[in-house]
Amino acid sequence: MKRYFPYLKEYKWQCILGPLSKWIEAALELLVPLVMANIIDVGVAERASIGYVLAGGGVMLAMGAVGFVCALFCQRSASIVSQGFGTNVRNALFRHINTLSYRELDKLGASSLVTRTVNDVNQMQSAVAMIIRLVVRAPFIAVGSVVLCLVIDWQIGLLVAAASVGVGVVLWLIMHKTVPYYAKNQQKLDRLTQIAGENLEGARVVRAFSTREKERARFDGAAQDMLDNSLKIGKISAFLNPLTYAIVNFGVALILLWSGFKVNAGALTGGEIVALINYMAQILNAMIVISNLVSLFTKAHASMNRVSEVFDTRSSIADGAGAQCDLSAPAVRLENVSFSYAGTKQYSLENISLTVPRGATVGIIGGTGSGKSTLVNLLPRLYDASEGKVEIFGRDVRDYAVRDLRFLFGMVPQNAALFSGTVRSNLLWGKADATDEEIAAALRVACADGFVAEKGGPDQPVAESGRNFSGGQRQRLTIARAVIGRPAILILDDSCSALDFATDAKVRANIASLEGVTTIIVSQRASSIRGADAIFVLEDGRVAGAGRHEELYRTCGLYREICDSQERAAQ
């Protein structure tokens, strides 16, 4: 919890003055029944003085007005503090997420990070608002009412105290009983969402098999489950209001009976009875607020833990000292590199050594799960090798400043993302100060000039994730984004899979004609890498063969099998 105090620092005064003014309002509110009792007992019963009564009324109005002003001040402070706190935490969290590396992103998951940044921080923010607004007020009123009752008459005061404990117990019990059902409710709701989603996503399959009735029965079952659970919650929580109402008002009945004796003995006045009953009502309201606060804080606490988990996650990539690259050295050199995602001995890559000379074009091929993507991800240090050494242009990747290292690369990962904006704004990611000519050239290299022109040029909008482009068009735009900065090393990780063979070949030819670029092509297609200067065949994280196409076809069984399976009919 302490770690979040700094985010409140600039609002120190609001944090102190807000609750303080709220406390003044609550204190004034507590005094009202006493003033009323005074009006009745002194103004009416004792002196029968209209002037005294009017004066009392004036005091009540003044107290109300002062309380109102205090409350306004408090609400304003609370709004500023909580929104400011939320803003600070959100910014810090988002910044922190931007320091994390692939490994941490894998572990936490994108959607969970989004939920934490948006919903969880909001939850914490409203908890801060409630602390300032209500945490002082509600308990103060509850306790204060009991204390004042004790002051008026200690025996009846004890009765009031007992009744408020009773209300507390009921509130706790009902919350306690319903919590597990609420958790279940969420599961049932998720199930409904899942089935509805499947029937949209799989609409064609459902229709092709004509299984409408089956799907309906499935949904009906889930809806019925949901109903049963909701009814259970309803049955329990419907006790809340009647029970608290009954406890408080039976308390009032007892107070009345007892008061009868006390009044008869001259120990209590009518005005005091009215005040006691009034306090009883205030206690009930305050207790309900407290129970709401408890559930809010439980939620906020869970949210806080989820946010803290992100803050506690540190990037596994430590920045290097800032080595300069030696452009005469081989572009890539791997020396006995092993890698595992979980940090265990279950290696995704094992004992890999290879060298890519500067300016060469290299192909990497293998089945799914053979470690191709993992291998290329080690080069721009998206992950650190578990063992062994990765060298780029003669220097260990760990010696570079991370930013400098990544500027050497142009990479097109699998399922690369485009971002909302324009074609131009997406390309500028690859080179911030790219000119119109450079943009046009990059689009040409990626064979994207045609459809971009058709859509109306590079200033045409790109929707979120590039949804307004087809899969093949998206791939070509991400290629253009990678080549625009004329990187020293270009990595294409299965990034032509949605292109037809002709376009694929043309893009590769364009890239090959770029001068001084070392190109690494990862592919499932033998045809895409066939012309490479060197081909590495991966199998289960190991190099199963290396060499040029003709050589490999002769010597490497796996490579031959891949080639044959893809062009069987051609022979």
């Binding site: 009564v53 107290m63 409350a71 709004s79 997420i97 994108a110 799989g202 009945a253 891949i562």
Partner: protein, 596 residues
């Protein structure tokens, strides 16, 4: 003005329809009404009784114990009955509410299983799901809880007013005059709150969208060293949110203190006026100049004080209920939009006894958008048992053909004949069962493996399921799953894309349809799985009329007919040899795409 009337009429329509859904649960409605009357009655009689009790405790030695016992006893009974009826009221409203939710969800979902594919294709899934799941909740919360609150609120106001007027109409009048103050304050705050909140929602939406997009693509952000820029943009939106957000919060936080203040004012007035009347009517009637009222007592004052409390509460809540109702109506309209969506035409009287699998498409015209013609006057003859390969560059309209064959979309003109029977005359369900479909994006439900394989044939035994799995080369990887055939498939985990497609093949094998529509995978499947899929395809196509979207040489070379598509229409058709001889589009396509 006209717009307003339309809106009114729309609401009326919605209310009428909702009443239709409520009808089966009339009992709950009657119960809710009855118990809320009882509840309001008993809670309001209570304070009157204890007021009398207080009046019977005049001072030391002047307490009428018999009367006090009677009044307190009556009060306790009222409390008991009020609590009981409140509980029963809660039960009625809850049952009504939740059952209505279930019924509406069911009906909306039934429509989802019945709507035309065009609807599914043209609506965002998240939005449709929200209608079926969330909007129904908002609707029932708003309408039922809102209506219940409104009903008890109005009742409370009416009864308190009557009792107050009976006890002392002057104070009652003062209360009535002061009340609009409270209403005015509440509604002016609500209005401002609503405005600033809708602004806040917009900015918040932008912030969430940015976070979702950037964090979703965080790996790309890292790759391009764009972290700083992304943070900067986030902080800019967040700063905007701060400015709008704290004000929105402030306005909404005004409600409680403001109503508390208004209540305090009313209480002060009642207290002073009541006390003055007590003074004036000591020992007899209350004489105010020419007016003479029955005497006012401390007990009556306590009744008034408790009433003003109960009376202002529902008044303040009403403004909240109004917004809740507005939201509920908006949600109801969204739910009914789904329910009213046009369903598929499933009728037809023609039947095919034994399907040979001969397909003829005659003069078919179709387009998704009437302004942009797509398939025009298309003819095709497919002999029973032959294999039709569909080829063409990416985005040439291969899916359109599948859409038409499966009758996911209707032809604009022309007809498809199966064994000489017009497809449009065959009942839709019967027609679709003639085809087995394996698409590239293989859809499996989040149920067990066995459930998914038996999807098209509910009566299949475990043995049959396993046999189909073996035939489709699935058995070995299914056995490696944690619970074998009973493993529940989750959307992201346990199976690779290729394995999922194999399961889809097993599913079709078990259903054993007379004709097939297959879509070969283009990429992202490893070599071994790929070979298995091809083997399974070949096995299942034996002796059946098959349409196959082809990406492989082996498929097109032994096809009986190749349909070459470009820009949405079939531009050439024939066997491989015929098409090569033509030296047309196919010839070029073959040389660039298939040959090496």
């Amino acid at each position: 003005m006209k717009k307003r009337n339309e809106k009114k009429a729309l609401r009326k329509g919605i209310v009428r329809r909702l009443l239709g859904y409520v009808r089966p649960y009339k009992g709950y409605v009657v119960g809710a009404a009855l118990f809320s009357v009882l509840y309001v009655g008993f809670t309001l009689v209570g304070p009157v009784l204890y007021g009398f009790a207080i009046d019977n405790m005049v001072g030391a030695g002047q307490v009428d114990f018999a009367a006090v016992y009677r009044m307190v006893g009556g009060f306790a009974l009222c409390v008991l009955l009020a609590a009981l009826s409140q509980k029963l009221l809660g039960n009625c409203v809850n049952s009504l509410c939740y059952k209505l939710v279930r019924d509406l969800r069911r009906e909306a979902f039934e429509k989802l299983t019945d709507v035309r594919i065009r609807y599914v294709d043209s609506h965002a899934q998240g939005d449709v799901i929200a209608r079926v799941v969330n909007d129904v909740d908002i609707l029932s919360d708003g309408l039922l809880q809102g209506a219940a609150q409104l009903f008890t609120g109005v009742m409370t106001i009416a009864v308190t007013l009557v009792v107050m007027f009976v006890i002392n109409y002057i104070i009652a009048l003062v209360v009535v005059v002061l009340t609009p103050l409270s209403l005015f304050v509440a509604s002016s705050i609500t209005k401002r709150t609503f405005k600033s909140f809708s602004m806040q929602v917009k900015v918040q939406g932008r912030l969430a969208a940015h976070a979702k997009e950037m964090i979703g693509g965080q790996k790309t952000v890292i790759l391009f060293n764009e972290e700083e820029e992304s943070c900067r943009r986030f902080e800019k939106i967040d700063a905007e949110l701060y400015e709008i957000g704290w004000r929105a919060q402030y306005f909404s936080a005004l409600t409680n203190p403001s109503t508390r203040f208004v209540n305090a004012v009313i209480t002060a007035f009642v207290c002073v006026l009541g006390a003055v009347f007590c003074v004036l009517s000591r020992g007899g009637d209350l004489v105010l100049g020419a007016l003479t009222l029955s005497g006012f007592t401390v007990g009556m004052l306590s009744v008034f004080l408790s009433y003003t409390n109960q009376y202002t509460k529902p008044l303040n809540e009403i403004s909240g209920v109004v917004t809740q109702l507005q939201n509920a109506f908006a949600s109801a309209a969204r739910v009914f939009e789904v329910i009213d969506e046009e369903g598929e035409r499933r009728g037809g009287s023609a039947h095919i006894e034994r399907v040979r699998g001969e397909i003829r498409i005659e003069d078919a015209c179709f387009s998704y958008d009437p302004a942009r013609p797509l398939i025009e006057h298309f003819h095709l003859d497919v002999k029973a048992g032959s294999k039709v390969a569909i080829v063409g560059p990416t985005g040439c309209g291969k899916t359109t053909l599948i859409n038409l064959l499966m009758r996911f979309y209707d032809l604009r003109s022309g007809a498809i004949y199966v064994d000489g029977v017009n497809a449009a005359d065959i009942p839709l369900d019967e027609y679709r069962k003639l085809f087995g479909m394996v698409l590239q994006e293989s859809f499996l439900a989040g149920e067990t493996v066995a459930w998914n394989i038996a999807y098209g044939r509910e009566d299949a035994s475990r043995g049959q399921i396993e046999a189909a799995a073996k035939a489709a080369y699935c058995d070995f990887f299914i056995r490696n799953l944690p619970d074998g055939y009973d493993t529940v498939l989750t959307s992201n985990a346990n199976l690779s894309q290729g394995e999922r497609q194999l399961l889809c093949i097993a599913r079709v094998m078990l259903a054993d349809p007379p004709m097939l529509i297959l879509d070969e995978a283009t990429s992202n499947i490893d070599t071994m799985t790929e070979m298995r899929i091809q083997k399974a395809f070949r096995k299942i196509m034996q002796g059946r009329t098959s349409f196959i979207v082809a990406h492989r040489l082996s498929t097109i070379l032994d096809a009986d007919v190749i349909l070459v598509m470009n820009d949405g229409s079939v531009i050439e058709q024939g066997t491989h040899a015929e098409l090569m001889e033509k030296r047309g589009f196919y010839y070029n396509l073959y040389n660039s795409q298939f040959a090496r």
